[in-house]
């Protein structure tokens, strides 16, 4: 039907977007350096640069191999991810599994540094679910209610265990990201609309029920969440809903964040002017957006959001272009991951959503997260590189 275009192409637009985000990240960390120096001995912007260079080298390696190979090792990746999470669940190996900010979510290796398996699990889950859906659709090309439910069950069986283990660390942010990824993949897996609608309806009903229970029986809910170990989740929600009253516990970060972001106003206070943001814990990692907002104002924040929007736009474009479903699914999973993290991270600091621990992709300081996102970009570049375009496409 067509003639194959044999010239693979590298997507320079995507690379340019990532370089812009890298510059924003390193520059922001550079302006925060004088404040960070008061409590840390590391120089974060240099370290972040090192992570970016390391990640870029990884991308080059990823480009060498056809991403289709990922299908063969998707089980292996998923397995490795799960083993790491299970080890953390049992706080093993002693001395290497460590607790940071109350969550058992890190391995600390001598010399190499710390590693956060939940970050890598995001990619592993995307690849694995993409493979799962493709394999299903190849085997059963038709979508009947019964087959769709079977596919849904498979997706649930493999995405719930990592969600459970990460939730147990506890890392609410990680749970939500994995949920967002799974939701995106369910959307595009071809499952019938009526099933998807009923899922959405059930989720909405669930939320309404929880809110109703909390309003009508606050004490019982209190005891229940305490008994089930979800009190930190509750305190985040309380901080979000009634910020002033819970100013001492969950709401403190939010009050400071709103003040920092708000006082940036239209133009910002100027480079490195972060008098409020520097009093917020984690202002170089999860809460870095507050620092950007305070120094660069609304212009700065909308610029950052625009860049993210371009990134998502580009990713969806690549997903559409790819004529291999496996590639499209992976890119969609990555879209889900980025969209959710950006929305959640920024949303939580402006009172759209409760506070959870999630890095702002590419901008927050962090080795495991930055590497994970660069690996994701490497896979996307690979998918684009190997997309076959047809000169006389009958489809278009």
């Amino acid at each position: 039907m067509s003639q194959k275009n044999t010239n693979p192409t590298i997507d320079y637009t995507l690379i340019l977007i990532i370089i812009t985000l890298a510059i924003i990240s390193i520059f922001t960390l550079f302006t925060l350096d004088p404040y960070l120096k008061q409590s840390y001995s590391q120089t974060f912007y240099i370290q972040q640069l090192v992570w970016y260079i390391g990640g870029s080298i990884l991308i080059v390696f990823i480009m060498l191999v056809d991403y289709d190979r990922l299908r063969q090792i998707s089980w292996l990746l998923y397995g490795v991810g799960m083993v790491m999470l299970i080890l953390l669940f049992f706080h093993l190996p002693p001395g290497i599994a460590i607790k940071v900010n109350g969550a058992w979510g890190w391995f600390s290796f001598p010399v190499i540094g710390t590693l956060q398996p939940a970050e890598f699990m995001k990619i592993f889950l995307i690849v694995f679910l993409a493979h799962l859906i493709v394999a299903h659709n190849e085997k059963y090309p038709d979508h009947t209610i019964k087959l769709d439910l079977w596919l849904l069950t498979k997706i649930a069986v493999f995405s719930l265990p990592p969600i459970f283990f990460i939730g147990n660390q506890p890392d609410l942010g990680g749970v939500l990201v994995l949920t967002a990824i799974t939701a995106c993949l369910i959307l595009i897996s071809g499952i019938k609309w009526r099933i998807i609608f009923s899922l959405v309806l059930m989720a909405i009903l669930g939320v309404i029920m929880v809110v109703f229970l909390y309003i009508s029986f606050p004490e019982q809910v209190d005891t229940f969440v305490e008994a089930t170990g979800f009190d930190h989740v509750e305190s985040r929600f309380q901080g979000w809903l009634s910020t002033e009253e819970f100013g001492q516990s969950g709401g403190y970060q939010l009050i400071r964040a709103m003040l920092a972001i708000g006082s940036g106003q239209l133009n910002g206070k100027g480079i490195g002017q972060v008098e409020i943001a520097q009093t917020i814990p984690h202002y170089h990692t999860d809460m870095i957006f507050t620092a950007i907002a305070e120094s660069f104002g609304f212009f700065g924040t909308s610029f950052v959001i625009t860049i993210y929007f371009l990134l998502i736009y580009r990713l969806i474009h690549i997903a559409l272009q790819s004529n291999d479903p496996f590639g499209s699914y992976i890119v969609t999973g990555i879209v889900g991951m980025f969209t959710f993290q950006v929305f959640q991270n920024i949303g939580m600091s402006i009172k759209l959503l409760p506070i959870t621990g999630l890095p702002l992709p590419f901008i927050s300081y962090g080795g495991s997260s930055t590497l994970t996102y660069l690996i994701a970009i490497g896979i996307v570049l690979n998918i684009h590189y190997r997309t076959k375009t047809y000169m006389f496409e009958s489809d278009k």
Binding site: L187, S249, G262, L320, P325, I350, L352
Partner: protein, 694 residues
Amino acid sequence: MLDQKKKKKKKKRLQLPLRLNILFIFVFGLFSLLVIQLGVVQIINGEEAQQKINQTENTPSEKPVPRGKIYDRNLDVVLDNEAVKSITYTPPKNGDSAANRLKLAEKLAEFVMIIKDEEELKDEINERDKKEYWYLKNTKDALDKLTEEDRKELTTGEQYQTVLDRITEQELTTISWNVELLNVLAIKKELDQAFELSPHVIVNEGITDEEYAQVSEHLLELSGIDAVIDWERKKMFGTTFNSYIGGISDSEEGIPRENSDYYLANGYTWNDRVGKSGLEKQYENILRGRKEKIQFTTDTKGNVIGSEVVVEGQRGKDLILTLDMQLQQAVDEIVEEELKKAMNSVNNNGYLQDALVAMMDPQTGDVLALSAVRYDREDKTYSDNSYRVIYDAHEPGSTVKGATVLTGYETGAIDIGTRFSDKAIQIANDPPKKSYRFLGYSLSEVDALEMSSNVYMFRTALKISGATYIEGENLRNFNNDAFGIMRKHFSEFGLGVETGIDLPFEATGVRGGDPVAGNLLDLAIGQYDTYTTLQLAQYVSTIANDGYRVKPHLVKEIREPGNEENKLGPVLKQNTPEVLNRVSMDDRYIDRVQLGFERVFTGGTARSNWSGFEYDVAGKTGTAEKPKFDESGNQIAKTENLSLIGYSPVENPEVAFAIIVPENGTGDQYAVHHEIGKRIISKYYELKKNRIED
């Protein structure tokens, strides 16, 4: 961006782009939401946020509230608060001028006399203070004392000093230095010492209620001055149970620096007082309360023109302990008296120094008393060291035999009624390992507990290890895993693991590290691993409680603060018994050990000491050899750890106890552990009876 209109032959082909576009529109919606909300926060409310920062950042806005109180199970107050009133001064950013400080001092002096004693006040104010006052009052004359040259050559500081030097006695006498004025100067001296933006206490001790009220009423005219109430902890039972109640930091010390991120993220400030140890630390979140937050409205010059309570303060919640402080005090006394008696007997051969007791309700895990007394040989004093009950671990000796028998059952090494001879164990040419005397050729496991047979336990341990024992020969097929197996089963009783008590720290004892057969035999009779007194109490409770290991706890209830003084608020949370695990064995096996424990007191090793005792008790005695060595490894003395565990009554037990008195001299000992045991059980029932009668 993406054209969707075309009809496709294959529906499947179409649906992926369609759904991706829906996803894209969704993302677009989310991002628009972000931008809109950012617009609201930064553009519409931005100015307000900035004003809020300007307004609230530099004004003191939080008032401390008292921490929660602690009561014992009879609702007697154990830990109370005492209000300490004080007047503080918080200078504005970059400080205030000397003239303004003087004005403030004059105003404040109308309401407060900071040094009540006249002589003391006179001593406080020296000549330099007076000269500085004269300078401020006669600035023009003072500056005339400088020549043109002085002004050119000297720095500002030197000029000031020169002026002060040139003020004559004569000039000072123009002012009448009455008490009121001296008071002003004393206040100003305090104001001078304050740093910008941090509250400095001007006066706290000796301030009268009237003065405090006066200052509180006039706070609006006194900028930077605040009348605050700080709270001191007041221990109503003195040092009793002190180490478990724990302490809090003072305001200079503030929050622990090594964990400051955690505290700051939870809304503490650097100077906040937090629990540092014991229950104060464990229940910090409950005891701390919510600070009252006051928003001061200030004009551009920084004068306070109004205030509004943003968040109502709430006193910390109260804790009700499981403990009866009367019993705790009585047990402390008993332990000290008995240790004293032991010190004057053969028990004291130069090493005896401690006696430790833990008492709990075996069914609920309510801790009833934790007591330890130590004799200090250098100071020749006895002191309350009750923390040792959870910190210090000792070899308990035969008291662990109940666990050994149950481990034997569980591993299949023995069964109900298995009989062994008490003939000494002889491995190769090692010294024979025997019981304290030969107890007979055929002992059941119940007999073995009753008479405390070591050999029975050795044989059980050997069977667990799978070794073949032939008298006088080396063991064959001894399996090192036996250590792990025995410790795993022991841990089902709480031996060697955390008991789970609600305290920030507890020790778990020390495991011996040399896995040879002889040590396994010692482990089986409690002469190898060490355990804390609390672990032993949990162990005997588990047996008393038919195999359910409950978590010991010190806090029974958490209550909302009461509205009125000395009135308790409603119950917020009740600590229900928490079962950590159930020993994985049938009741009939546990019944056998309970029978053995009962016979220890009716016919066995504890009979002579407990005959004629009013209440029925079951339990187990123990003696562990603890030879003392000098630096080069030569044995220099023999000592013994004496231990006793038990519960009462035998049916449906309500109190369990563990007693260890380490390092007694050998020979005709004073049975200090039995004496303590009898007295604490009598005391327990006596207090119980009194309470019922009341």
